[in-house]
């Protein structure tokens, strides 16, 4: 028997609203299956279950706010199912946290009521009576706690970014390196490849760049991982967090999971899918917690170079600037080439500049031979 709990989706998260169940009691679930959706400051996140089994009991109703660690459901694992079903399945009542026992950490309210309460500065706890759901009308007729007009609330996402970046700046001794990369060969190669393809199969430079970065990380793994317990930890999986700007403001850096194992076409598809789901607010919990390095590409905004702030506990962030026509010396000749500034901010506790330099050099090498990135 195992408990399916509200996961922590970032160090700053204290609670989230369970929005929807994708399963019902008695359903068979497999490892990695999405079984619920929760709403956080990062949008709606799909939550996966980490073991195979049967949904024994669902303990929390949709649209309930739960603190991290609250048991949401009980999963009966396969082994327990065999044989003595009757005795093993139904746990002693005291084993399962009941609705009543945890009322203080869950308030039922519709999303509209929740939003309005936040705007008006009303404490939902004060309206939730005897486990009854709070309705919008109740919120609207309630007296705001703060009588004078409140300062516009900072969004949850802004606060999450503020917390992580303050911690980064306080704890991580950053070092910065940059390299000019001649992108003409790579762009030429890509253009040629794209003329032979239909519009649906077209590849974008961003996919090629991410593919090059993951390949370079295979050779310089020290930058792919974490600084934890005063020691560097190299991650075997390469899950680059891709900085994706939301048009309404804000930024999310979801992980492109297992990018190290993808070829160029797979990278393009996965990236396309990740951007679409980020913008429509449909990410999975693993995607917002498993990043091993960050890649930020402010190229679309037209800046030449970006010196990033490392997202702890990661140890590096790669920045890609706008690709620009630039004077370039080749042998004795001066010519014009498409040039991109690639930068690296590294955690000096985990690596030295030599490692960072090796990475940028490898990245440059790969982009001069793009056919190897297919």
């Amino acid at each position: 028997m195992s408990q399916f709990v509200m996961p922590s989706l970032g160090a700053d998260m204290e609670s989230a609203v369970l929005m929807e169940w994708h399963v019902k009691e008695g359903d068979h679930v497999t490892k990695g299956q999405v079984i619920a959706e929760v709403e956080t400051s990062k949008g709606v996140i799909e939550i996966e279950v980490f073991e195979e089994g049967i949904v024994e009991k669902i303990l929390v109703e949709p649209e309930t706010e739960c603190t991290v660690g609250t048991t949401l459901a009980i999963i009966r694992t396969e082994g327990e199912q065999e044989g003595k079903i009757e005795t093993v399945i139904s746990p002693a009542p005291s084993d399962i946290p009941t609705e009543e026992a945890t009322d203080d950490e869950r308030i039922k309210a519709s999303p509209a009521a929740r939003r309005r309460a936040k705007e008006m500065g009303i404490d939902l706890f004060s309206l939730a009576a005897q486990g009854e759901a709070v309705h919008l009308s109740q919120v609207e007729s309630a007296e705001p706690i703060i009588s004078e007009p409140s300062v516009p609330q900072m969004g949850g996402m802004r606060q999450a970014i503020a917390k992580a970046m303050s911690r980064s700046n306080a704890e991580i001794p950053h070092y910065y390196l940059s390299a000019s990369i001649n992108m003409t060969p790579a762009l030429h190669w890509l253009e040629e490849l794209n003329t032979k393809r239909s519009i649906k199969e077209r590849l974008l430079p961003a996919a090629l760049l991410i593919r090059a970065i993951t390949k370079a990380l295979e050779e310089v793994p020290e930058l792919n991982g974490f600084w934890k317990d005063d020691a560097p930890q190299i991650s075997e999986d390469i899950n680059p967090g891709i900085a994706i700007a939301l048009r309404k403001g804000g930024l999310i850096t979801p992980a492109l999971l297992d990018a190290g194992k993808m070829n160029l076409d797979q990278t393009m598809q996965a990236l396309d899918d990740l951007i679409t789901r980020t913008r429509s607010g449909k990410l999975r919990n693993t995607e917002i917690t498993q990043q091993t390095i960050t890649i930020t590409n402010l190229g679309d905004l037209g800046v030449e170079s970006v010196y990033g702030v490392i997202y702890p506990p990661q140890v590096a962030i790669v920045g890609l600037g706008r690709i620009m026509d630039t004077p370039w010396a080749e042998g004795d000749a001066l010519c014009v080439r498409k040039v991109m500034q690639a930068t690296l901010a590294g955690d000096h506790r985990a690596t030295d500049g030599r490692i960072g330099a090796k990475f940028l050099e490898k990245l440059n090498d790969l982009l001069q031979h793009p056919e190897e990135l297919l």
Partner: protein, 82 residues
């Protein structure tokens, strides 16, 4: 298809792919990507969707000819006539 119908089709696809944009923000002679903050991924998606609706495929070499709503309308108009 008339020029107006093409315009409607283009605007429809832009709003479909970037739902947080207001139709009023789409200014005919402004660069679509820059003025609406549409990145290369969304731009490609818009062109892919328009290919399905209008049957015209825009090669990468022609991207400069479809940078604004006005240019895009002209581009598709010409290609659909021929």
């Amino acid at each position: 298809m008339t020029k107006e119908q093409i315009k409607t089709a283009i605007i429809e696809q832009i709003l479909e792919i970037a739902p947080d944009i207001n139709e009023a923000d789409i200014i005919p002679d402004k660069n679509i990507q820059r003025s609406l903050e549409i990145d290369s991924f969304d731009f490609l998606k818009i062109l892919t969707a328009l290919n399905e609706v209008l049957g015209v495929e825009v090669p990468e070499a022609d991207y400069a000819k479809v940078d604004t709503l006005e240019h895009m309308m002209e581009y598709f108009m010409q290609r659909m006539e021929s």
